[in-house]
């Protein structure tokens, strides 16, 4: 099935697979590219195939979301995709099938993006152990702040999992310091005050957040929310260590299937796309 996670390539930098992926991109003189798709959208096998397609077309890190009934940080496109995944029978344990399906075929670091209640329901330790067994690198937690994360901090440390917390334009200097200190792998900088969704511009706030996180000692800061074009990837990659694309990839999968995901991933990674693919919904 899976190789022992400890034997996988990239377990360097204190064991952080996400850090290793970002540092590899840095060594090639570019920012890392991180692609998000919901697990089970439109079905489990397609989401595995789409994840593999992202990894084989220039994405350094793959972020797989758990479809959840109350996704307060997500905009319309991702909400609709996750509603469809749930309607098609996705259950939380299937996320490990998706992670394993991708890690078996590629060397990409795979993180799970999840609202906290599904993890709490399964039990933080049980969830974390299954994630390790599936070859997952760690978790991105949009509604878990370090203040509430004592159990996750302890277990992720013990199991060597990455824990990616978010920082925002509204984050105070003190909270920035605490969040940077608590994160492992990278820090997720929210580019704008808002929810996920493609935007034509992420504005000046993103750079300020990245600078603040770097100033607080973060070695790796990746920008997400609103990034949908190679031009934005290029612009943000100039000051951030990684760039996260979500909604545009979800729309591409919705409209054009795995091939469209592969094509968009290629475009984003070369930074040469003329127009944003996958629509601007």
């Amino acid at each position: 099935m899976t190789t022992d996670p400890a034997d996988r390539p990239g377990r360097v930098l204190g064991g952080s697979r996400a850090a290793a992926a970002i540092e590899k991109a840095r060594s090639e003189g570019r920012a890392a590219l991180i692609g998000y798709l919901p697990g089970g959208f439109p079905d489990v096998q397609t989401s595995i195939d789409a994840g593999i397609a992202m990894a084989r077309n220039g994405m350094d890190l793959i972020e797989i979301g758990i479809p959840y009934s109350d996704p307060v940080m997500d905009g319309q496109v991702i909400q609709e995709a996750t509603v469809e995944a749930l309607a098609n029978g996705f259950t939380v344990p299937r996320i490990f099938d998706v992670v394993e399906g991708i890690t078996r075929e590629t060397d990409a670091a795979v993180l799970v993006m999840t609202y906290w209640n599904p993890v709490m329901r399964m039990g933080v330790r049980a969830f974390a152990e299954r994630l390790v067994a599936a070859g997952g690198a760690g978790l991105i937690t949009p509604d878990l702040i370090p203040d509430e994360a004592a159990e996750w901090l302890e277990i992720s440390e013990e199991l060597g999992l990455d824990r990616v917390f978010l920082v925002a334009p509204s984050t105070s200097p003190q909270r920035m310091q605490n969040t940077v200190d608590a994160s492992r792998g990278f820090v997720y900088a929210v580019s704008v005050m808002g929810v996920t969704g493609a935007r034509t511009s992420v504005g000046a706030a993103a750079r300020a957040v990245v600078d603040a996180a770097h100033g607080a000692g973060a070695e790796r800061v990746c920008v997400g929310l609103g990034v949908s074009s190679s031009a934005q990837v290029r612009e943000i990659g100039a000051y951030a260590d990684g760039v996260i694309v979500g909604t545009a990839l979800v729309a591409a999968l919705r409209d054009g299937g795995v091939d469209a995901v592969a094509e968009l991933a290629r475009e984003l990674s070369t930074g040469a796309a003329k127009t944003p693919a996958g629509g601007s919904a």
């Binding site: 009934s69 996704p71 307060v72 993890v119 329901r121 399964m122 005050m193």
Partner: protein, 462 residues
Amino acid sequence: MTDMHQGTGLPGTDAGVADGADAGTAQGIDAGTAEAFLSHDESLRHAPGPYFGAYGGRWMPESLIAALDELQDTFDKAKADPEFTAQVTDLNRNYAGRPSLLTEAQRFAEHCGGVRVFLKREDLNHTGSHKINNVLGQALLAKRMGKTRVIAETGAGQHGVASATAAALLGLECVVYMGAEDTRRQALNVARMQLLGATVVPVTNGSQTLKDAINDALRDWVANVETTHYLLGTAAGAHPFPAMVRYFHEVIGEEAREQILEQTGRLPDAVCACVGGGSNAIGLFHGFLDDRGVALHGFEAGGDGVESGRHAATITLGRPGVLHGARSYLMQDEDGQTMESHSISAGLDYPGVGPEHAHLADIGRANYEPITDAEAMEAFQLLSRTEGIIPAIETAHALAGAMKVGRRLAADLGPEEQPSDRIIIVNLSGRGDKDVATAAGYFDLLPEDSAEQEIAEEGEQL
């Protein structure tokens, strides 16, 4: 707790004190609750959050933490500012109509085992429910923070109407998120909010219910937090909302305690309230939290019956989880996905509950039971016909619960005692005008083919 105070009296019998002056130090013990909480010198009142035992907290996106910090800071300063508390008191008295009455319900009491029943008349407040207490306070805080816009969620429309009212009074822009299905069923309440100058946004995401209206309000808040305060309608959500919403409703319990002492010379044996998110209940309970002889009863929506799976009995059947910013009991499936709740009362139709209630349930200080739609509607009709008061269907759950509590108290009397030695206070949290069409449909009072019948079939709550 190691130094637990042991009960010395018969259950409920020495809860009372001779006069108000002694009431504050009354140590009457109710065997049903006393063992599970509180040592002598420990108060449950004014719990500041963010945690209530294992519950509460701030399970929220980082983007909103600064706004929660600002709100907490503003609230803390306001509470200590005599100008603010005077403003609240003035609005309560001269706008909302406080203090609300405490009315003895003698004919209804005959159906409660013959114990004495008193109704705390929040239905007489401006806008017809307890909701006004919270919205006035929060709208004042929004002004203090320099915010020009408030957003709110609503199910049946009560909190939306109250929010629109407070916004109109204080000159704030108001946007109310409401499930698309509810906006259709509650067309008149939508019109009412619009008349008050609010914008009503139909929510088509997710299950299109109250919880999805909260989700969309949170999405709005993230994007507009600079100018916008989220006027959450119940004692749930992330800190400081549960403690803050309770604070603005504490007036219910403070008044009730004073009024019952004045009218009967003693404290009640039990107080009863309905619990959806739990704001009216926590407001009433708070006045009696440290009166160990007073049993606290919360009644959740049992819908078609808890065994049917179609209910909103969150504490009775839920499991701890996080939703909308707080850890509390939650109706969720094996995957941690929020389940849909069901109740004839839109105001109780929420799959979560305030974290302080979860804590009070765990430590045994308050008791929570489900009331079915049928039981609630029976009590609805009974109060209307015995007292000339049409209650909100939410409130009818508390009344149905009081009937059970009263009968239990009456069945457990000592040899020398009468049922009338027992006293219950019920929070009459809202009036039933909005529910007339639902009730008329339920009791089959509408002529065939009438426009009202059509409305009732759709579940309109006016």
